[in-house]
Symmetry: C2
Subunit: 196 residues, 2 copies
């Protein structure tokens, strides 16, 4: 994983790739961004964590980095599932691939156009990912239509010889928040409720 | 969550419901079961964990219990996402719902007919699940066809007034292991590779 990481890190100097920071909570990710829909982020003292940082034991959980290419609206995520993400003994749980892809989708959608919420998500599993091995996620924005962003992802081994899974997802923009659609009489998306 | 838990616990005495044990690793889940495809489970000293036990801090991660009804081939999963499973600040990450549903699918498939591996999985998100609130997953086996099991899940609030998400999935039986299909010349499903 490290050599490919350094390869992409070099590309951030010479090409247009951007390394997406990996904070412990989305509260930090969205600091400084324009916040839609009354999504207010308070800095309370609770220990909130983005799911991909749910374990802090090094190497045991979601080990990953996301690189984003603004002009081409695509991302590459290097993901090394640790032994705390097991499904079938010795292999990464399908849910870990789904989570990692969904997270990469939403970060890509946010950076590519303030896409915010996943409307739907599908994944087809082809081969098991051994725990500790590297899975490379290639995420592309397929199209933007009717305020929705359609993304695709192929998850493969580093040498591209093994396809682990293929996924697709639809993200909605902030102005078409699914929560708001289903609660038309409320003025904000209710995100603040959770801080009480 | 607790009162509903006790309600189902009572049903295990009077009705046919079974509480599915929640071990730290699938190595324990499958002990005593017939193991297909050369899936050999060694008891090494590594700290492997099923993804839904990736954090052990009480109340912070995947708090859940699955009840299974063998005759009706259905399950109910009570899921209370903790603050380590956050996506949008204050709300459970979509990946946590996908993971919990996938896990409930695979346990249901295994108990209902030795279905083993998820072939594909789709989820549609309708409303956000606030961290710490209860999500009730109702899982049904829709049909079994051509050695595949089709499952559906609706995720809603306890009072059934809010639908959080709807999901569907296809599980394959051990004799049609997707790994074996893609590696026809190998005699086992390769699960042992990961133990080296």
């Amino acid at each position: 994983m490290l050599s490919l990481y350094h390869e992409f890190l070099e590309k951030t100097k010479t090409d247009d790739w951007v390394k997406v920071p990996s904070f412990k909570s989305n509260r930090h990710h969205i600091q400084g961004f324009k916040l839609p829909l009354g999504l207010e982020v308070t800095s309370d003292k609770n220990d909130w964590r983005i799911i991909t940082r749910c374990t802090e034991v090094e190497g045991q959980g979601y080990e990953y980095v996301i690189f984003f290419h603004p002009r081409e609206k695509k991302s590459v995520c290097l993901f090394q599932p640790g032994p705390y993400l097991e499904g079938i003994p010795g292999f990464a749980h399908g849910g870990s691939l789904a989570t990692m892809t969904d997270e990469a989708f939403s970060k890509t959608a946010y950076l590519a156009g303030e896409g915010l919420f996943t409307l739907n998500f599908s994944i087809k599993y082809k081969n098991f990912v051994p725990v500790g091995s590297l899975a490379v996620l290639n995420i592309n924005v397929e199209k933007i239509e009717d305020q929705k962003m359609y993304l695709s992802c192929i998850i493969q081994s580093r040498d591209q010889q093994t396809v682990y899974a293929k996924a697709s997802g639809k993200e909605v923009f902030s102005s078409r928040c699914s929560w708001k659609k289903s609660h038309p009489n409320k003025s904000d998306c209710g995100c603040r409720r959770a801080h009480h």
